[in-house]
């Protein structure tokens, strides 16, 4: 078990290094640089840009830039964000918690609701309501999250004014503990938009898995021992049927980190996704590298957590390499 974990950690470190190196090179290959200003700014001359490039070392060979970047990162220095006018570490520190709040809420919402609904559907497969909700789930799976986002903006936000259009808080609204309801109010639409398609997939996976264990021997044995129906579902059937959903959760957490870009952009949520998109558009090299480093770390950690959860849920996995 320990050897397997060490191996996974080594693989993870290699993946992170490769991802960062690739992005570092790719963003520099793209045309432009951090010192191209607004599209039609008529006062920034090519000479001024060249001077700025030289000042920050962007006129040096890419390999030399990468070695310098890696050395600085090893010392805990992520560089200066040109587009935000602050150190990259501050930019990351300001945005990571916001993305985690959004992604975490959506993740918990999606898998708790999706698993519960899927388990209920699988256990009550003859029920008309179960079939109907399964149909609704199929529709929700088919809708891309950006379409849901636009619908959410048009209806609940713009037309009915039930929720804010975007942002994390009401401007000049309550702050501190008094601002928590306001924060939750702002969180509803983006979190739901992220969660709904994932919950629909999780429900379908859970439903299929429950159907598989519904008539299994261990379920019949538990019923014969006189266990209550609730205990049979939660302790026996659901635990055995969780494996595919947990595997999906591991993959989905990584996907959420990447997929949150569009949702953050549409709902104006000031998290990592919006940060990363802005950094790429502005060719803010240090910020792109820092954001990619953090998101690849999050992906690796998410995958590892999912693996550990799988080991917990399915003892048969523990002996496998």
């Amino acid at each position: 078990m320990r050897a397997a974990l060490l191996l996974r950690l080594g693989q993870a470190a290699l993946v992170v290094l490769l991802v960062v190196a690739t992005c570092f090179a790719l963003i520099r290959l793209a045309p432009g640089d951090p010192f191209f200003s607004a599209l039609d700014e008529s006062t920034v001359t090519p000479e001024q840009r060249a001077e700025q490039r030289a000042r920050f070392g962007y006129d040096r060979p890419v390999v030399e830039q990468f070695v310098r970047y890696a050395t600085n990162v090893a010392r805990g220095e992520f560089g200066w964000s040109h587009s935000r006018g602050e150190p990259v570490s501050l930019a990351l520190a300001a945005t990571i918690p916001k993305s985690l709040l959004l992604v975490g809420t959506a993740f918990l919402l999606a898998f708790s609701v999706g698993t519960a609904i899927g388990a209920w559907q699988g256990w009550n497969r003859e029920s008309l309501l179960a079939r109907a909700t399964d149909g609704v789930g199929l529709v929700l799976v088919s809708i891309p999250d950006f379409v849901l986002a636009v619908l959410a903006l048009m209806g609940p936000a713009l037309a009915w004014r039930l929720f804010p259009v975007g942002g994390m808080r009401t401007e000049f609204g309550p702050t501190g503990p008094a601002g928590v309801p306001d924060l939750l109010h702002h969180l509803v639409l983006p979190a739901l938009t992220l969660a709904v398609p994932i919950a629909a997939v999780a429900a379908r996976l859970q439903r299929a898995a429950m159907l598989g264990v519904r008539d299994a021997d261990f379920v019949r044995a538990a019923r014969a021992r006189g266990a209550s129906e609730t205990r049979i579902v939660t302790r026996h059937a659901l635990r055995n049927a969780l494996v595919p959903v947990l595997a999906y959760a591991g993959v989905q957490f990584s996907a959420l980190i990447g997929g949150v870009v569009i949702i953050e952009q549409v709902f104006d949520w000031p998290g990592m996704g919006r940060l990363m998109l802005g950094a790429v558009q502005a060719r803010d090299y240090p910020l792109v590298a820092g954001a990619v480093l953090v998101s690849s770390l999050a992906t690796v950690v998410g995958t590892m957590v999912a693996d550990i959860a799988l080991l917990w849920a399915d003892p048969r996995q523990r002996g496998r390499p």
Binding site: F36, S83, E86, E171, G173, H185
Partner: protein
Amino acid sequence: MRRAFLPSVLKTAALILAAIGCTGDEAESGGGTVIISSAADADALLPPLRTSVGGRMMSELLFDPLVEVGPELNTFGDAGFASRLAKSWSWSADSLVITFALDPSAHWEDGHAVVGRDVRAGFAAIREPANGSTTLSDVTEIDSVHVVDEHTVSMHFRARSAEQMYTASLVFPLPAHLVDTIPAGALSTSAFAQHPVGSGRYRLVSREPTVRIELAAVAGHYRGRPGPDRVALVVSKEPSTAIAKLWTEEADVFDVLPPPDVAEAAMHPHVQLVRTLGFDYTFVGFNFRDPRDTSRAHPVLADVRLRRAIAQSIDGTSIVRALFDTLARPGAGPFVRAQAAGDTTLVHPAFDATAANAALDALGWTKRGRDGTRMRAGQRLVLRALVPAPSANRVRAAVLVQEQLRGVGIDMHVEKVDGQAFGAARDAGAWDLIFGGWGTTPSIRGIRGTWGGRAHKGWGRLNSGNYASTAFDAALEAGFSSLDTATARGHFRDAFRTITDDVPAIWLYEVMPVSAVNARFTLPRWRPEAWWRTIADWRLDPSRAMPRDARPKAK
């Protein structure tokens, strides 16, 4: 019982949401809070460092200049200028020195008086090459700034010109007691750049880069207390979200509404529209150099007769109408109508497809290929047009121009590139046509960089199409060095006639921006080049005040 369950849940949810949506703070109404919704952030808070519109907005609320061009935007002489940090000024006999008397009641936010060395510090920050100031090319005619005494400063010019006072207005004093300790070139990464101490009517409260900037009114300001108590710039990277906040009253201002949203605004009675003059012009530029070898003349576009024929092939009026309806005008030249030196009497090649076809025939482009494209000596008349993808208007304009050129047998290939790639490709000169645009200022001085010939020192650095005319440059130079306004205008008129005859571009359109502002504010005269400079004079209608307009509690 069961049937009543769902409606009651919905009712409860609606009550909770209504309670959350209301801040519950019904304090005394003050001067109001102005929330500016924007799709772009302020890139910097210091006047010498900013390049974006957001940066200009915030830095000009935080810092006062010495003098400010008046609402008429007359940049010639000094009659049209209003005093700011400089209470008065006087000219030397040879007009090469302007001596400014600073307002003794002007103070920095930290209580220090605004003194002469602050003016020198502001000028030094522009001049420092490592700061990369976009103002640098505009103040090259200032030779030096000297401190005469604590409240007097003299500005020395290299040469006389009609726009010396305008040049002086571009210098924003910085607090020398704070910036003089910052190493040269480190201003942009200094703590001062992130938390500036200004002299403007607003002070910085907080800044979250790319999210929001909050400013508060300076109560004891030497120009009086501003109307609105607070101003916030709220950034929504998605423009539709930024505009939607205006409809839901989560924000109060959006400065340039896209045409479809101008119509949408009519459905929101709480929004007032302000139609104003634009400072950007868009053109289809011709490359005078061969894109494959920029040391050679362009194989076909170097011929002015061909450029004129292409200009005659394009119906600019119909394109403008199709794209903007009445929200733009056909371009008048390499300037905008709002500029005092702009000349609206120029005669451009008129749309005339018959004449264009005849001219192309006369130039030997007679044969037609299978697709109708003209040919000469086996060469097809194909032009590659560079178009910036982020500009939806220019992308649409390119499609319309492409269709019109096809009508006369010219095959235009549209190459859409993102904003960053557009700048790099524009400077590299690897294109035949470019759907370019330039942002301008009240002065036309930027034309030296955008259309001036590179043979003239310091000119033509952004003239990526390599248009060069000694007659044009000479007329411009004569205009800029004239002290008399009428003479200067005459020279500029000559310059514009020359460039019109040379057809280095088709002046496509000049957008007339429509800004949207919440109707609870009464607005003073709108400044088209910098509307934010009058925010301090906005007045709130108390009967329409919102919870966020309550006067903030003093800390």
